[in-house]
């Protein structure tokens, strides 16, 4: 009987916990959970466009997924407040994929059940490749804000990218170093069990040769060994590297920065878009990131009206400076708006018809957004835009040209 009572008590406590959860998610407008409920910010009258978002809202890559979901939410609410697309409101549903291929396909299928007409996502590369096959077979239009591998769009005419691709990032970083840091001795530390990291490293090293950059050391790590980098850092230091290229996500990068600081080793750290997010990482000492260079298409200190408005709005709502992923998510919605308006699509069209119209528009239109102006898309789905080098100063991004 004791056991039975214990069980009953456990049940009651769990229910109480749920009740707590429920209330919390209702009173906290900043959680992406809130944006998942279709009624948020959308009057229920009449038909509306349904945009799905797939990305890691929980798990180790959650910063990326949440940034995209937040950027999308801001864009959608702005559009809805201004009268919608072609007079129709937009509904958006973000679904969590924990950056896992299987879960991502599940999330995508879940959105298809919901009646999604256009997919924004998936956010990370591996899941995006898995989902892209489904997208291609289903003939639904997909625009990924940040999955940067060429494999994501290769051979799929209805999958487009908003971010520049890995080869562009790798060779872009090498080109930038070649022209701005001549005679630099570069060390590369990358994660060799990660598609994204390995992909950028490959193109970086290939382009470094053309740029006469000397790669003095290459260190690798895996997801299981990303807690300690003293070996790689010591090796880089003894190889005489004065620039360390980090084509990795921000969590291991934060460890590298802290350990290099503890060693008293002060090379220039150079990251790519995965480094974006380091400034909003919880419990991270911002002074460690001082002077880190990041290759990103978006800089929150830009003074154009669009960026200023977006950054202010994002700050107000979520209490942090938006990173590139948020800007990519925001741009995705506006690019879709422009294309849908040009094609004159309506929500009662099937997603196949919308897809056909979107492919036509995206391959012919020019789009100005937060992450670049005059963007065009090739028929392969890759975007043309220029990466911008920024430096972290006093905890914010500053364009490398404006840096002190």
């Amino acid at each position: 009987m004791k056991k039975f009572i214990a069980l009953a008590m456990a049940l009651v406590m769990c229910l109480a916990l749920f009740a707590g959860c429920g209330q919390e998610s209702n009173t906290e407008p900043s959680t992406p959970a809130e944006s998942g409920t279709p009624e948020s910010g959308t009057p229920a009258e009449g038909a509306s466009f349904k945009f799905g978002v797939v990305g890691p809202l929980t798990g180790e890559n959650a910063i990326y997924g949440n940034a995209v979901a937040n950027g999308v939410q801001i864009a959608v609410e702005e559009i809805n407040a201004a009268g919608g697309i072609n007079g129709y409101q937009v509904e958006v549903s973000p679904q969590d994929d924990v950056s896992d291929g299987e879960t991502s396909v599940n999330a995508y299928n879940n959105l298809m059940d919901w009646g999604m007409q256009v997919l924004i996502g998936p956010v990370t590369t591996g899941p995006a490749i898995s989902v892209s096959t489904e997208v291609y077979n289903d003939r639904i239009f997909a625009l990924t804000p940040s999955a940067s591998s060429p494999d994501v769009v290769a051979g799929k005419d209805n999958m487009f990218q908003m971010c520049f691709s890995d080869p562009n990032q790798g060779s872009g970083a090498a080109t930038y170093m070649g022209s701005n840091m001549p005679d630099a001795k570069v060390a590369v530390i990358y994660r060799n069990d990660d598609q994204y990291s390995q992909g950028i490293r490959d193109t970086f090293v290939a382009e470094a040769e053309n740029q006469n950059l000397e790669v003095v050391y290459e260190g690798t790590f895996t997801v299981d060994t990303q807690a300690d980098f003293s070996v790689q850092l010591t090796a880089a230091q003894s190889a005489g590297a004065d620039v360390i290229f980090l084509p990795i996500y921000y969590q291991p990068a934060s460890v590298i920065l802290a350990q290099a600081d503890a060693m008293g080793y002060e090379p220039t750290f150079f990251g790519v878009d995965g480094m974006d997010g380091i400034l909003t990482m919880p419990n991270f000492d911002l002074s460690l990131a001082e002077g880190v260079m990041v290759l990103t298409p978006f800089s929150a200190d830009a003074t154009d009206e669009k960026t200023v408005n977006f950054v202010t709005e994002y700050n107000e709502r979520f209490g942090e400076t938006p990173n590139q992923f948020a800007a990519d998510g925001y741009d995705c919605v506006y690019a879709l708006k422009q294309a849908i308006e040009a094609a004159g699509c309506t929500p009662d069209m099937s997603y196949e018809d919308i897809c056909t119209a979107m492919i036509e528009q995206f391959t012919s239109m020019t789009f100005d957004g937060l992450t670049g102006t005059g963007m065009t898309w090739s028929t392969a789905g890759e975007v043309s835009k220029l990466p911008l080098a920024v430096v972290i100063q006093d905890g914010v991004y500053v364009s490398a040209e404006n840096a002190k």
């Binding site: 749920f18 992406p32 396909v105 096959t133 489904e134």
Partner: protein
């Protein structure tokens, strides 16, 4: 894994009950397949559920095969996902290599599953031969390491195929890329090292998954109920007593372990061919533990329990999407509640009362006693 020897008198009537349970298991799987197929053809299933069918089949086979090692043989294996990984990547290589020469998808799928099973069986033999001779929990330690080693090895693996055959390089120092394979223009890149298998033709189907489950059930249930199976269980229950009556310890342990590895390999091949992109990191320690959770939750040695647990626990995280950010929390709580409920005599009594009628048809009254023995 100390277990008391059950008296022969106790065992004799249980076998016939066991046979009934076995037939009920086959019947249940066939019925479930029929129902899902009919509902699917009527368009009554959600996309979300249909998308999960193949992974569910894979996880069921994984759980059944691990149950053979953990529940029947009584050895703890913490690297079952490693065998799945071996099967998945070898299966993908096989399926992609024959893409040009064998246009029929089902035939390629069968070849891939056989190759996956064979490769995993060989790996299981390599791991099992030295380790299964030892006493104690060494298998757990070695399989744990094995799972990690496989992951690192596949990260180094670059494989491509063209008309000249298969090209394989091991990229140990991280400096080689897919271009070092020297593929001709018509060549296909199959595994790109850390980037995993990308661009895989997704030829897996639910029917193939169902057939794989049935084959697995036939193999495992027949093995368990055979003379060899009784020898394996005797080893689990008391190794010294088993040795004293002349049972070859290593032989029977290897038999169970390699069978288990081969089935996991086949499941891995099916899983790998269901997604166009698969990285080695998918088959990490967490996946091994997930499979172990299916087995423990379903009941050690209970095959039907593994099937139900694998199905429910695969669907559950998706079914809980309504909880948004809290879904994994809810998942954990449900898991704990189920564990508590299945171990509580009161809950069992309530359960058996409520489904007494149904149970009467399929199973037997002594089920509880069997459950107790298997869980003990």
């Amino acid at each position: 894994m100390g277990k008391k020897i059950k008296s022969a008198a106790n065992r004799a009537p249980r076998l016939s009950k066991a046979a009934k349970i076995d037939y009920a298991t086959y019947l249940g799987v066939i019925l479930a397949f029929a129902v899902v197929t009919v509902l699917g053809s009527q368009g009554m299933l959600t996309r979300s559920f249909q998308g999960q069918l193949v992974p569910i089949c894979c996880y069921i086979v994984m759980a059944i095969s691990l149950n053979l090692t953990v529940g029947v043989l009584g050895e703890l294996s913490l690297g079952h996902a490693g065998f799945m990984s071996v099967g998945a990547f070898s299966g993908i290589v096989a399926a992609m290599s024959f893409q040009a020469s064998i246009p029929s998808e089902p035939v390629r799928l069968v070849i891939a599953l056989c190759v996956g099973a064979a490769c995993a069986a060989v790996t299981g033999l390599i791991v099992g031969v030295p380790v299964l001779r030892l006493r104690g929990d060494y298998l757990a330690i070695v399989t744990l390491a094995f799972g990690e080693i496989i992951k690192e090895l596949i990260n180094c693996l670059i494989v491509g195929h063209d008309e000249n055959g298969l090209h394989v390089i091991f990229n140990f120092d991280g400096s080689k890329t897919i271009s070092d394979l020297g593929l001709t223009e018509n060549g296909i890149e199959i595994i790109k090292g850390a980037q995993g298998a990308t661009g895989t033709d997704t030829i897996a189907s639910f029917t193939a998954g169902f057939i794989l489950i049935m084959i697995t059930l036939v193999i495992v249930l027949n093995l368990v109920r055979s003379r060899s199976g009784r020898a394996i269980m005797a080893l689990r229950d008391n190794r010294i007593a088993a040795e004293s009556v002349g049972i070859n310890v290593t032989k029977y342990k290897l038999m169970a372990f390699v069978t288990s590895a081969a089935l996991a390999g086949a499941a891995g091949a099916l899983y790998g061919l269901n997604f166009s992109n698969l990285g080695a990191s998918k088959f990490n320690f967490n996946t091994s533990i997930l499979i172990l959770v299916f087995v423990v939750l379903g009941g050690l040695g209970k095959i039907w329990g593994s099937i139900i647990a694998a199905t429910v626990l695969t669907i559950l995280p998706e079914a809980l999407r309504g909880f948004e950010d809290y879904r994994m929390l809810v998942y954990a709580i449900v898991l704990i509640l189920v564990m508590l409920a299945t171990n509580s005599p009161q809950a069992k009594a309530v359960f058996s009362r409520s489904v007494g009628g149904v149970k009467g048809i399929f199973a037997c009254k002594g089920n509880k006693a069997k459950g107790g023995a298997a869980n003990g």
